[in-house]
């Protein structure tokens, strides 16, 4: 007989024992190891995904910050440029005003110098003219210039307008300013007495150079070298004005 029933039973038992042994030593450990590894891999994948998400978030945050910084930089740069432009305008205006002040001062100084020069020329010219006139008068008429001037002054008094003569007659006080000596005073005083009964005061003013000034009742009658000098002065000033224009060329 091909089938030995004892062997069949033994083989069945053997097989069941083998099932139990393999379950214990093969399937369970292997399945557990696989499950554990799958869990671990899943955990690692989850962790990696978390990390990736975090990295993405960090990257987005970084990009956002960078954009903010860039925007801030542009704003700051624009502000700095604007500030610089304003500062530049301010400095230019300061420099311009300083230059204007300096130019004004220079012009003022020039005008002062010009004026001083004019005064000096006037003074010297009148002194020179007076000296020349005095010498000429002395040489020609054999009388002092003062006498001649007093004579002219007296002559002028006589030629005064009627209204002026009237007002002079009403004056209570007359002031006579002259640059020369007391010798001619009596002559002038007599001439004035003919016109007014007012009190006559004399005052010597060397600045007048040569000439006589009568002040009474708001009127001023002048005869001096100044009349001639003014003409000279005008001519000299014209000459002086022409001179800087010529130099500038």
């Amino acid at each position: 007989m091909l089938i030995d029933w004892f062997t069949v039973a033994a083989q069945a038992v053997n097989f069941l024992i083998l099932v139990w042994l393999l379950k214990r030593f093969l399937y369970a450990p292997i399945i557990n190891a696989i499950d554990a590894r799958e869990k671990r891999i899943a955990a690692e994948l989850a962790h990696a995904e978390t990390m990736q998400a975090e990295a993405h978030a960090s990257m987005a945050d970084y990009a956002r910050k960078q954009a903010e910084l860039e925007a801030e930089r542009i704003v700051l740069l624009k502000q700095a440029t604007d500030d610089a432009a304003v500062e530049r305008q301010r400095l230019i205006s300061i420099a311009r005003s300083d230059a204007d002040d300096l130019r004004g001062k220079q012009q003022e100084q020039l005008q002062n110098e010009y004026r001083q020069l004019g005064d000096e020329i006037s003074r010297k010219a009148s002194a020179e003219a007076f000296a020349i006139a005095k010498k000429i008068l002395c040489d020609l008429a054999d009388e002092s210039l003062e006498e001649r001037m007093a004579a002219v002054f007296i002559q002028r008094l006589g030629m005064l307008d009627i209204n002026v003569q009237q007002q002079l007659a009403n004056a209570t006080q007359v002031l006579v300013r002259s640059a020369f000596a007391q010798t001619e005073r009596s002559t002038i005083e007599d001439a004035i007495r003919k016109l007014t009964p007012a009190e006559i005061n004399f005052e010597v003013m060397p600045e007048l150079i040569n000439g006589i000034v009568l002040i009474a009742h708001g009127h001023k009658i002048v005869w001096s070298v100044a009349d001639y000098l003014s003409t000279l002065e005008n001519e000299v000033s014209t000459l002086l004005k022409m001179q800087p224009a010529g130099e500038s060329k």
């Binding site: 089938i3 030995d4 062997t7 053997n14």
Partner: protein, 229 residues
Amino acid sequence: MHLSTDEIILLQYGAIKLNATIATTWLLMILLVAGAKHVTRNLGNEVRITRWQSLLEIIVIGIRNQIGEVGLRQPEKYLGFVGTLFLFIATANLLTVFPVYEPPTGSLSTTTALALLVFVAVPFYAIRERGLPGYLKTFAEPTLIMLPFNIISELSHTLALAVRLFGNMMSGTMILAILLIVTPFIFPMLMNMLGLLTGMVQAYIFSVLATVFIAAASGTSDTINEDRG
């Protein structure tokens, strides 16, 4: 020559005897368990694993997937039985490359034992899944008239499995033996190689058929229900 390894008696004490079939089975058991124990003694859950662990994982996962493909929903529950069937038969047949080795599956006693175990396992798993009334009801399907045919079918499953495995194993061994006498050179080697292939195919067919029977009886197979429908 021996037709079956059952006839080689190594030890005998009354009715109890240790024949070559049982002895070879024990050797196989020791080999399988020792190998499994050796590989699984320090399993790690590291991403990098040893080659042997990888091999065992491939085998175990392959069997599990195969059970799942047949249609059983929880392959782990059947892994012990079906997986051991496959590993035992495959190992027994693969070792035929050794000259003096006689596979225990070449003995009708062993194949009968395995077939009987499947015969018992089918109602065992079916009752565990459906309960006893649910299982008994399947014999009266689709009508009560089919009851005897269903019982015959159930028995013939077992017989078919036993004979299939025995026939293939024994025929391989027999043909080899005969060919050794007729043409001692080259040809037996080719037959031996063919024997390796058929051995593996038998292991696969036996375990898959067992799974299919279990799945059909347990009614947990979507595939089979769909096929029937």
